[in-house]
């Protein structure tokens, strides 16, 4: 209902009217909401989704998260080396929670020559249904991201109240181990606490009295059972009175009592009494209402019957556990399904999304980026990023000239029919690929909920954009045999399994080979993108006087090392900068000079041009490697200088021995002939990037914040 209202509100009035008219005169209506899946309808939805995914040609996905970066200095910068980029990605995926998962399977329906889409919008909340480790489940929220989601009417109440929980594979294994040990405990009495009691004779007077009383009560009950059946009702009356805590029931066709209202110590004593004095009674624990275990005393005819009972109980318990674990696995079933069906997964700028899926549902992210990249393919063999697809094909040059490749804009441009809900003849390209939408049993050929930044709808848009893009590339769906063939389509081979590492500098990675390339420009030669970054030329400087601007820092250093010594200065945040020197030797010189100045605190060092930077005595400097060390830490302080202090950096200058191998050097230029179908990003994007970087280097901090917000929004929303 909420979605329906939203749809009406978001549309211009005139359009809404035509929609209503249309829905009156045609059998198909556009006014049904997206399939929202929460805890309550998850099982049923999963059952349907299984069919849809199996039949699908490709599955579009999208995620909404509680944040992107845990601290301003952890945002993506141009000067990030691949390992740093991965550490930042890992930090983000580890800290933030997924609150919505959009899954939209697309299947080509030859009968109507259209794609059939099943958009699903899963509300997610990491609830930890089975508490295993005893640690609480916690996640981070970025204030700006929550506000962003709120702006697009994200329903936090539905998410927290009704969101589907999940368990990763590792957690599932742990839960299984825990349950097995619990059963061993039930059947073998190996629990340390029960051992304690057994070991020592019952010594407390209260215990002795209680044990005796229980012994007599239990034997009373047993004797009552053995008496003639037709006298039963008389006895029952009196029994009820005396055994308020004993409830007569039948368990697995055997007479039994349910034990109510005993403390755990008393229960242990009862267990002991039963074991020692009543061979024909079995003390068992079965799951009762809620999460508690219910304690039962069951009467058995013989030892064989008792063994049989125990076997049955164990079977029931195992079945129950299996169910519990299955329920706790929750949302992971969807991801497992994608993975096991080896479907082509389509996302828009989805590097972070994939990392979230990996860390939440598969395993903790590996320590190095290389390991991560090589293990993605095991779980998601075919991934396509629509943003990359659009940017790297000359066919879409027109789009790039006109619009940016943000999801909403690409969707609006490529699929005008779907956007307006009306058939238009004058599209910029060939006629649109038709996409019909089915939610439950309702099917429509012109559905559009318009709820941007809702994972389900975003996934739908992504899928539409992909279908459209394929058609422009000349892929004929009519001739496709189902399933993996689309992924093997020759025309897509340039893009499959390549993702943007960062679209700040257009670095992309090929998941199959692990090679990283910068998007090369076909026509226009942009110095900006061709410049190689030598990380050994970079000094990380932090803790300098807060008023110092980038230009002033540059001036100070240039005074000492010459006008051309500093190539550029980048602000990480207000407390830290990267100083990019023109030569690697200057890095060592600078660090040595700094150390010397700090050591001899004489008038000469006070008057030294660098003293302006060293003022305050907290200025620290190190080479690029230390940046990695700092990014590796799980802590995220707001300011970089605080972060460095928190992770325990006590030195002021880290002098390093230059290594022999050139491993610090990373080329960010295009590597010859390795990537053919690539073209330059749009003019607009470059302009934007340049302005971002201008903002960075001129040290306008408030602009930086605006930029970061913009960036965050762009990344969430695309």
């Amino acid at each position: 209902m909420r979605k329906h209202m939203r749809m009406l509100m978001r549309r211009p009035v005139s359009q809404t009217l035509t929609l209503i008219e249309r829905s009156f005169c045609s059998s198909t209506t556009t006014s049904f909401g997206i399939k929202n899946v929460t805890k309550s309808n998850f099982d049923a939805a999963l059952l349907d989704l299984r069919q849809h995914i199996r039949a699908a040609d490709f599955v579009a996905i999208d995620l909404e998260m509680t944040g992107i970066t845990s601290a301003p200095w952890r945002e993506a910068f141009e000067l990030d080396r691949f390992d740093i980029r991965y550490l930042k990605l890992k930090d983000s995926a580890n800290k933030f929670a997924v609150v919505q998962l959009g899954v939209c399977p697309f299947r080509w329906d030859p009968n109507v020559s259209a794609f059939l889409a099943h958009p699903h919008n899963f509300y997610v909340f990491p609830r930890q249904e089975l508490s295993i480790s005893g640690t609480s489940c916690e996640f981070m929220c970025q204030t700006a991201s929550l506000e962003f989601l709120a702006k697009y009417q994200f329903d936090f109440n539905a998410c927290i109240n009704e969101g589907i929980s999940y368990m990763s594979r590792g957690q599932e294994e742990e839960a299984r181990r825990l349950f097995t040990s619990l059963y061993d405990d039930v059947f073998l009495d190996s629990h340390p606490s029960s051992k304690d009691i057994k070991d020592k004779p019952i010594s407390r007077v209260a215990d002795v009295l209680f044990t005796e009383r229980m012994k007599s009560k239990i034997s009373d009950w047993k004797n009552g059972l053995l008496q003639v059946r037709n006298r039963d009702h008389e006895c029952q009356g009196s029994r009820k009175e005396s055994f308020q805590q004993f409830e007569n029931i039948f368990y697995l066709m055997r007479p039994a009592v349910k034990l109510h209202g005993f403390t755990s110590r008393q229960l242990r004593l009862i267990q002991l009494v039963t074991k020692n004095h009543f061979d024909d009674l079995a003390y068992i624990r079965v799951s009762g209402e809620g999460t508690s275990l219910q304690q039962l005393l069951v009467y058995t005819d013989s030892t064989t019957d008792k063994d049989l009972l125990m076997k049955e109980v164990k079977g029931i318990l195992l079945k129950e556990t299996e169910l519990k674990i299955k329920n706790a696995v929750g949302l992971r079933h969807v991801i497992d399904l994608l993975s096991s069906e080896k479907k082509l997964v389509v996302g828009h700028n989805c590097f972070l999304d994939i990392a979230h899926l990996y860390s939440k549902f598969i395993a903790p992210l590996p320590a190095t980026g290389e390991d991560y990249i090589s293990s993605i393919a095991k779980h998601f063999p075919y991934i396509i990023d629509t943003k990359l697809l659009l940017n790297n094909n000359n066919v879409f040059q027109v789009i790039k000239q006109k619009r940016s490749t943000s999801l909403a804009k690409a969707f609006a441009f490529l699929c005008p029919d779907i956007v307006s809900g009306v058939k238009t003849s004058g599209s910029a390209y060939k006629p649109c690929i038709k996409v019909e939408v089915q939610v439950d049993d309702t099917r429509s050929s012109n559905w559009n909920s318009g709820a941007k930044h809702e994972a389900g709808y975003d996934a739908f848009m992504t899928g539409c954009v992909f279908a459209q893009a394929c058609s422009h590339l000349g892929i004929k769906f009519e001739s496709q045999v189902p399933s993996p063939s689309l992924a093997l389509e020759e025309k897509l081979q340039g893009c499959i399994n390549t993702l943007y590492l960062s679209w700040i500098n257009g670095e992309i990675i090929d998941l199959t080979t692990g090679k990283r390339i910068v998007e090369s420009s076909g026509s226009s030669d942009r110095k900006y993108h061709h410049s190689k970054i030598f990380f050994s030329n970079i000094v990380l400087l932090w803790g300098f006087p807060s008023k110092l601007k980038a230009a002033e820092i540059k001036e100070c250093i240039c005074k000492v090392f010459g006008q051309s010594s500093v190539a550029s200065i980048y602000h990480l945040d207000e407390t830290a900068v990267f100083v990019k020197f023109s030569k690697a030797e200057l890095v060592t010189d600078f660090l040595h000079l700094k150390a010397t100045l700090e050591k001899n605190n004489d008038p000469i060092s006070v008057l030294h041009p660098l003293s302006k930077i060293l003022d305050g005595g907290c200025t620290c400097a190190a080479n690029y490697e230390v940046y990695k060390e700092i990014c590796e830490s799980p802590i995220s302080e707001m300011l970089f200088a605080d972060q460095a202090a928190t992770i325990g950096i006590k030195w002021k200058t880290k002098l390093f021995v230059p290594k022999q191998k050139e491993s610090h050097r990373e080329t960010l230029g295009p590597e010859d002939g390795q990537f053919t179908g690539s073209t330059s990003p749009s003019e607009k994007e470059i302009k934007k990037l340049v302005s971002v970087l201008d903002g960075l280097s001129s040290g306008r901090t408030s602009n930086r914040l605006a930029d970061s917000l913009h960036l965050a929004q762009a990344q969430i929303g695309r």
Binding site: A71, P72, Q128, M140, A144
Partner: protein, 623 residues
């Protein structure tokens, strides 16, 4: 965690999912008890009301709803914690988690009658000024969010309509970063002028003079629009509101001072204002020309109002904290250490590194903090009652102390589904405690001195305020037995699932160093503490561990299986270095890896004591 919620919450949950039924059978929902819910939309009107009520009332109760508390069992305050380690734990939580609800209740007690004005403020750290403040990101624990959701808390409303705030420290930063001109109130020093200074002075002086002249001329003669704009261009005149103004760009603080010095000369008609640069520091001095003395006064007043309005917007909910602080009324809270570390970090400023500094810093803002749990200690010294509901039911069982609650303010019907009852429960419990302890409720000097003995105790396990300087800790909550921290040793690396008794037996048979006089407690799954009753035993034991078993086979066997040990100083270092791993064992390992330098001096403290209890395990749930 979440499975252990009280049954009435489950009931409410059912109600809230079914929106058509009204909550009727909520036992805590007394129709008289209405807590005024305050969000962004009704904040300013509420502020007026609460201001009076704070001034009139005797006490103010506060209660907070956070997004989480501790991430691992050992992160909560344990009986073995000293005041300092307990503070560091509270600090860690306060800095990470966020406040969503802040309930305030000014109340008075008159003849066993409680007159209370409860308010529940909904907060969200919205970055209204786009400065990355009050907080860039925060942590949430799903169990906390879930239990809030079960109480029917509306997260959508919280994020959309929650009141934002800035701490006092953040306000200072924000003021410097906003680019608005502010009337200068800089101190003017009269240091001798250098040549460069004199040149600058002269330039400014002539510029201001010519500008003034131009302004006066243009006022008299009616000029052509074109000429007027040309003139404006030449003298660099602009307009501020309806008044003409001149902008003088400056490069340093010194320039600002010089410019202000020049402007003193024209003080009769011009008002100097400073424009701060976004990154801090002053960017320019703006000179506004006023037409007369009266006009000048009006202008200055206008500016003040404008600034005040701006500041109100910036401070947001902190206005309430400032009101409370200004009233100097005693505050009543439950679990004051956790609550007031949060209050300090969100509304005053960053938390200092030590408990004593925190105490001093907080004292400046809030002089009297009364902790319900310490007052309960007075009534039931043996049993630790850590929740408001446990304490309330205890009081109900043991004492006859009827308290009538009166809530004079009216709350609209649709607000009946409200939150923040805890603050009322706290006020009521406090009233009961006062009547049982025979503390007169009138605010005369006598009674406040009677309560003073209970004020400002933050360590949850210390009994009175005067021993806060000592670092005495206990091993457990009941039957306390003081033990010096010197006699405590942490051991870890034993087989998972080992009970305290098993561990004790293992240790007992393994070394001659260990006579029978020691006790073992399991702290978390990974780590245990040993308390020795003889002063030297701990050192002897640590030495034996250090030497790899001291020629004792079974101890060296244990060591080779992974057993490790550390003294209390290591634990202190864990807390001060912020090594908050999930398992205490990992933290201790890390602390041992880090260098020892710098901690030798601060550890030469007085002898410290802890409490010990005769039971196997510290029951973490009762803490």
């Amino acid at each position: 965690m979440s499975s252990r919620r009280p049954p009435w919450l489950l009931q409410r949950r059912f109600i809230t999912t079914n929106t058509h039924t009204k909550p009727t059978s909520n036992p805590t929902h007394n129709p008289k008890w209405c807590v005024k819910q305050v969000s962004k939309s009704n904040f300013s009107e509420t502020l007026e009301n609460i201001k009076d009520q704070i001034l009139k009332s005797d006490y103010i109760a506060v209660s907070l709803k956070k997004t989480g508390s501790h991430s691992a069992p050992w992160h909560r305050t344990l009986p073995i914690d000293t005041a300092q380690t307990a503070y560091l734990k509270a600090k860690y939580a306060a800095e990470r988690f966020q406040l969503f609800q802040f309930a305030v209740c000014p109340f008075s007690i008159r003849d066993s009658k409680l007159i209370a004005y409860p308010y529940n403020f909904h907060l969200f750290p919205r970055d209204g000024l786009k400065l990355g403040m009050p907080c860039y990101s925060f942590m949430c624990q799903s169990s906390y969010l879930t239990s809030m959701a079960n109480e029917g808390f509306d997260f959508n409303a919280c994020i959309n309509d929650g009141i934002s705030y800035l701490s006092r420290a953040q306000e200072l930063i924000a003021r410097n970063r906003r680019g608005n001109p502010v009337i200068s109130n800089l101190e003017q020093s009269s240091s001798p002028h250098s040549v460069a200074d004199s040149l600058f002075l002269g330039r400014i002086q002539s510029r201001v003079k010519s500008w003034l002249k131009a302004c006066k001329e243009s006022k008299t003669g009616s000029e052509d629009a074109l000429i007027r704009s040309l003139r404006k261009l030449m003298v660099g005149s602009e307009e501020y509101g309806s008044r003409p103004c001149l902008r003088i760009d400056v490069c340093s603080e010194r320039h600002v001072q010089l410019a202000l010095e020049v402007l003193k000369e024209f003080a009769d008609d011009v008002v100097p204002m400073v424009i701060r640069a976004k990154g801090g520091g002053i960017q320019a001095v703006q000179v506004v020309l006023t037409s007369s003395k009266e006009d000048k006064d009006i202008f200055e007043k206008e500016q003040q109002c404008k600034e005040e309005d701006q500041n109100k917007l910036v401070r947001g909910f902190r206005e309430v904290i400032d009101l409370i602080s200004a009233s100097q009324k005693p505050l009543v809270a439950q679990n004051s250490l956790n609550d007031f570390t949060i209050i300090h970090s969100k509304f005053l400023g960053p938390l200092p590194p030590s408990m004593d500094e925190f105490r001093t810093s907080l004292h400046l803002a809030v002089p009297h903090v009364l902790d319900i749990s310490h007052l309960m200690d007075e009534i039931s010294p043996l049993k630790k009652l850590n929740s408001v509901s446990a304490a309330t039911s205890y009081m109900k069982r043991r004492f006859f102390a009827p308290i009538d609650a009166e809530i004079p303010q009216k709350v609209e019907a649709d607000e009946s589904k409200s939150h923040g009852y805890d603050v009322l429960r706290i006020s009521q419990l406090f009233a009961k405690i006062c009547s049982v302890l025979k503390i007169s409720s009138e605010t005369d000097k006598h009674s406040s001195s009677a309560l003073k003995g209970y004020a400002n105790i933050f360590n949850p396990y210390s009994a009175s305020s005067d021993n806060h300087m000592e670092e005495d800790v206990r091993l457990s909550t009941d039957h306390p037995q003081k033990i010096s921290t010197e006699n405590i040793v942490f051991v870890w690396g034993f087989t998972l699932g080992t009970s305290a008794k098993m561990l004790r037996n293992q240790l007992l048979t393994s070394s001659e160093v260990l006579s029978d006089e020691f006790d073992v407690r399991i702290l978390d799954k990974s780590c245990a503490v040993i308390a020795f009753s003889k002063p030297d035993s701990s050192t002897k034991f640590l030495e034996a561990m250090e030497s790899g078993g001291n020629n004792c086979d079974s101890l060296s066997n244990l060591i080779s299986e992974g057993l490790r040990a550390a003294d209390y100083e290591t634990y202190k270092r864990v807390c001060s270095l912020g090594l908050w791993e999930v398992k205490l064992a990992d933290s201790l390992d890390k602390a041992l890896e880090t260098d020892f330098d710098g901690h030798t001096e601060d550890s030469q403290k007085e002898s410290t004591e802890v409490y010990w209890r005769n039971s196997d395990l510290i029951n973490l749930d009762e803490l």
